[in-house]
């Protein structure tokens, strides 16, 4: 299979690989996919005042999956949570010129962003509850 130049670039030089401490209140973690499907993405965001100030990822998956998640971390940085939620997988497909068989890799990246934001929001709720009851 031939990969687009952008996929190869992200594969060779992935942006924002790494991990934040999961328990940090500022951090939201999205873990999507399954090993038996051949793809698992972990995408983490660091949030200050509803704004994503940093993002990191780790991906087990094909080159297109690595590129999709790498691109996703670039795109969410600097966005508000609501702006990040609006990112569509079709935009990733277009940016990376993914062929039809690789569309699910971009879907996974969109899901990972959403899961990370959801996790962050849930953790804010529980931590504000615990402060309220304290």
């Amino acid at each position: 299979m031939a990969y687009s130049e952008k996929v190869i670039d992200h594969y060779n030089d992935p942006r924002n690989v790494g991990s934040f401490t999961k328990s940090d209140d500022q951090v939201g973690t999205g873990l999507v996919g399954a090993p038996e499907c051949g793809d698992v993405m972990k995408l983490q965001i660091k949030v200050e005042n509803e704004k994503i100030v940093d993002a990191k990822f780790k991906t087990f998956g094909c080159g297109s999956a690595i590129a999709s998640s790498s691109l996703a971390t670039e795109w969410v940085k600097g966005k508000t949570l609501d702006e990040a939620l609006a990112i569509k997988n079709t935009e990733i497909v277009e940016e990376l010129s993914l062929p039809p068989v690789k569309i699910h890799c971009s879907v996974l990246a969109e899901d990972a962003i959403k899961a990370a934001i959801q996790d962050y929001r849930k953790r804010q709720e529980t931590s504000s509850e615990s402060t309220a009851s304290a």
């Binding site: 690989v17 038996e36 499907c37 991906t59 068989v101």
Partner: protein, 404 residues
């Protein structure tokens, strides 16, 4: 070193220049139709074919008159299975095979199931080995054929042909073996092994693509087959179609070279395979050999690299040509059915790479490949959420995954 490095000799092989040379005159000079009985062009072509046929038959312990020339092992397998099933249908309609056969065996068997035949797929263990007891127990009065391959194309595991042949002969059942990966690499003898039908192909042994053969036993017992291709009645009515004379000449030359170099090449290629395996094992954790550790084709190594996905791994070694059992390389998004049948988890099946070494593989190429693999696996593991979780002591089977 020349790049890319070819390490996919189980998929196909380059045609040896000595084979090409032997073929050349049959394109432009001796171009007759081997079935033309009225002139010298035809006679010469026929002579060349008969000489090739003898070599092909005798090398596997049979005779030239027991060779049916075909377009390759896919056709040979189809002819053996469909042809025997049809010819012996009054005797019975039960066939025994295994789940890790090549698709060119499994698909015709499944087509027969659709037509009312009964097919038993034997169990295979973690190494891809069948049980001889289960084989013998599976034979019924209506069993007509056992089809079990010589060496597996993905994982390299060899079947105990001689023991299988003893059982099939004892019960009066035909024994077909798809020996595509084994002929020219390991000793095979249809007499000693009681093989009745044997498929092989030129392009896996440094011959041209598109030519193969089916050995069909002529005595003790005489095996009969219904044709699957009808026409001019070539190949004693079993396979019609004008013979591919240059291809057949090349096929015989290729087998002759493999035969003459077999012992030393098997030893050399096994050493190369082991050298690669040992390097990988020494420098990487969580790797798993697929297939039997010793009962395997000399040129095949199949390894799963835990927590990295096969396609991304192949991308990381883009100057080395190998094959992956991963989902993502095929449009079907299914991991290898062979690894699945061995009980390899889908996660490890997605992480498997098949290395096939061959006549032109050098030690230098193997060392380069080992370095490159080790680097790529380490890099991808730094990027792998699964490897990270395992390092943290998380049991991946307890994680609530979201399959899609």
């Amino acid at each position: 070193m020349k790049f890319p490095i070819y390490l996919d000799y189980n998929a196909t092989t380059p045609t040896d220049p000595r084979v090409v040379e032997a073929m050349m005159p049959y394109f432009t000079q001796t171009y007759g139709n081997a079935a033309s009985r009225n002139h010298q062009f035809g006679w010469e072509a026929e002579q060349a074919v008969e000489k090739a046929r003898d070599l092909l038959g005798e090398t596997i312990g049979g005779g030239g008159r027991e060779i049916v020339l075909t377009s390759g092992a896919t056709e040979s397998n189809n002819l053996a299975i469909l042809g025997a099933a049809d010819f012996y249908k009054e005797k019975g309609r039960h066939i025994i095979t295994s789940p890790i056969e090549h698709k060119a065996v499994i698909d015709p068997c499944q087509a027969l199931e659709q037509r009312g035949y009964d097919v038993t797929f034997l169990d295979v263990d973690d190494d891809g080995c069948i049980s001889l007891e289960q084989l013998e127990k599976s034979i019924r009065p209506d069993t007509i054929l056992v089809s079990l391959m010589a060496g597996n194309n993905e994982i390299g595991t060899l079947n105990p042909l001689e023991e299988i042949g003893k059982i099939t002969r004892k019960h009066g059942v035909l024994f077909h073996t798809d020996a595509t990966q084994a002929v020219g690499k390991i000793p095979l003898d249809v007499e000693q092994m009681n093989i009745d039908l044997l498929s092989f192909t030129a392009h896996k042994m440094y011959g041209p693509k598109g030519v193969g053969a089916l050995y069909v036993r002529r005595k003790r017992p005489r095996v009969r087959l219904s044709p699957i291709m009808f026409g001019g009645g070539h190949e004693r009515g079993m396979r019609s179609g004008t013979l591919n004379v240059p291809g057949i000449v090349g096929f015989a030359k290729a087998l002759e070279l493999c035969r003459d170099e077999m012992e030393s090449e098997a030893e050399r290629q096994t050493a190369l395979r082991e050298r690669l395996h040992q390097r990988l094992q020494a420098e990487l954790d969580h790797i798993k050999l697929n297939g039997h550790p010793t009962q395997r084709l000399p040129n095949n190594l199949n390894v799963s690299f835990g927590y990295v996905e096969g396609e991304s791994l192949i991308m990381g070694i883009s100057d080395i040509a190998v094959s992956s059992g991963s989902a993502c390389t095929s449009a079907s998004l299914e991991p290898s059915y062979v690894l699945r049948a061995l009980g390899v988890g889908d996660d490890l099946a997605h992480s498997s790479i098949r290395f096939g070494v061959g006549r032109f593989t050098t030690e230098e190429e193997i060392d380069y490949t080992a370095d490159k693999m080790i680097f790529a696996v380490k890099r991808l593991r730094d990027m792998s959420p699964l490897y990270e979780m395992v390092q943290e002591g998380i049991d991946l089977s307890t994680v609530n995954w979201t399959p899609h």
